[in-house]
Amino acid sequence: MNKYTERLYNGIIKENPTMVLMLGMCPTLAVSTQAINGIGMGLSTTAVLILSNVVISLLRKAIPDQVRLPSYIVIVASLVTVTELAMEAFLPSIYKALGIFIPLIVVNCIILGRAEAYANKHSVGLAAMDGLGMGLGFTMSLTLAGLVREILGSGSAFGVRILPESIQPMTIFIQPPGAFLVIALFITIMNAIGIKTRQRKLVESNGCDGGCAGCAMASSCSKAEGGEKK
C-alpha cells in the first residue's frame, strides 16, 4: 500500500473520526435521521476538509506559529461559507434539511483536528488524501447511522419504504433519543470486537485465557485491560 492509499485506509477504517476518535459527534447525532442527510452532511464536510487541508498545507510555511489557530479558523470559516452558498444554490432540499449544521461545520473538531495534526506538517498531495480519507470515513459512519435510524424509525431506506406496512416503525429512533441509542449501540459493537481481538492477542502472548476480570495477575500484568474502572 503506498502512502496515498494508506491515508485513505487510515481515515476510513483505522482512525475513523466518529467511531474511533469520537470527533464530530454533534452533526453525527443531529443529522442522522435519514441516510440521505448523512450523505449530504458527510460530503459537504468532506469538501470543506479537503479544501482546508490543501489550503493549510500550502500556507504551512507562511503562517507564523503563534497565530496559527486563528488563521485556521478564518480559513475554515471562509471555506464553509463558500460551501454553504454553493449548497443553497445547487442542492436546496439538502441545504434545508441540514439547516444550522452547515455553518456549524466551522466548529467541527475533525477539521481543526486534521489541520493541526496532519495538514500543517505534510505536503499538499498527502494532505488532500488525508482530507478525503477522513471525510469518507465520516460520511460512511454518518450514512450508516442514518440508515439504521431510518429503517428502525420510519421503515424505509433512502426514502424508499422497505418494511411491510404491517410493521409499525419505532418512531423513537428518528427522534433525539434514538440518535444517542444508535451511536451507543455502534460504539458497543466496536468495543465488543476490540475486546475480543485484545483477548486473542493476550492469549497469544501470555498463554493465559485472556479473561482479565477474574485474573489474579491482572494488577501486575502490563497487558491487562485497564482504564475502564479507575
Partner: protein
C-alpha cells in the same frame, strides 16, 4: 411578556440545546465525568453565551444587515466569540481572581463549543430582536448547564456499578443521555 418567558423556557427545557438539538455534545460527554467541573463549565457557558448572543445580535442588526453582508455572519460570529472569550478571560483575571480560578481551563474551551455559535446563528435565523436574543442565549445556556449537571450526577452513580465490558465508557453514557432525552421530550407538552 409571556412571549419572553416562553423564549427562556423553550430554550432551556423544550428545545434543550444538548438533548434535542445536539449542540455542545463534545463537552457534554467529556466534562460530565466530574460534578464540580460540570457546574463550573455550566457557569462559564451561561456567562459567555449570554454576552455572545447580545454582541452577535447587535453586530448583525447594526453592521452586517445594513451592509448586506449577511453571508459573512459565520466568519464574523466565530471571530467575535473567540475574541469575547479572550476578553472575558482577561477581565475575570483582573477583577475576580476567585471566579477566574474556578472556571480555569473551561473558559478557552468554550470557543470551540458549537452551542455558542449555534445559538448566535439560530437567533439571527429566527429573527429575534436584541432582548429576545439575550434571553434565548441565557435560556439555552441554563438548559445546557442543567443537562450537564444532571448527567454528571448520573455518571457518578454509574461509576459504582458493574457494567458489561463492551458498554463501559462512552456507550453507557450515551444510553444515559438517551434516557434523559426521553425525559426532556416530556417538556414538549408544555404550553402557555
Amino acid at each position: 411578556m409571556s412571549n419572553l418567558i416562553l423564549i427562556i423556557v423553550g430554550a432551556a427545557l423544550i428545545n434543550n440545546v444538548v438533548l434535542s438539538q445536539f449542540l455542545g455534545i463534545c463537552s457534554f460527554l467529556g466534562v460530565s465525568r466530574d460534578m464540580k467541573a460540570s457546574a463550573s463549565l455550566g457557569g462559564a457557558v451561561i456567562f459567555v453565551m449570554t454576552i455572545a448572543s447580545a454582541v452577535a445580535s447587535l453586530l448583525y442588526t447594526y453592521v452586517l444587515a445594513p451592509l448586506g453582508m449577511d453571508f459573512m455572519k459565520t466568519i464574523v460570529f466565530i471571530l467575535v466569540i473567540a475574541a469575547l472569550v479572550q476578553i472575558v478571560e482577561m477581565f475575570l483575571k483582573k477583577t475576580s481572581p476567585a471566579m477566574y480560578k474556578a472556571l480555569g481551563i473551561f473558559l478557552p474551551l468554550i470557543t470551540t463549543n458549537c452551542a455558542v455559535l449555534g445559538v448566535a446563528l439560530t437567533n439571527v435565523q429566527d429573527g429575534y430582536n436584541f432582548i429576545e436574543s439575550v434571553l434565548s442565549g441565557f435560556g439555552t445556556a441554563v438548559g445546557y448547564t442543567l443537562a450537564i449537571v444532571v448527567l454528571a450526577s448520573i455518571r457518578s452513580r454509574i461509576n459504582e456499578e458493574d457494567i458489561p465490558a463492551p458498554l463501559r465508557g462512552a456507550p453507557i453514557v450515551l444510553i444515559a443521555a438517551a434516557l434523559m432525552s426521553i425525559a426532556f421530550m416530556g417538556f414538549s407538552g408544555l404550553s402557555f
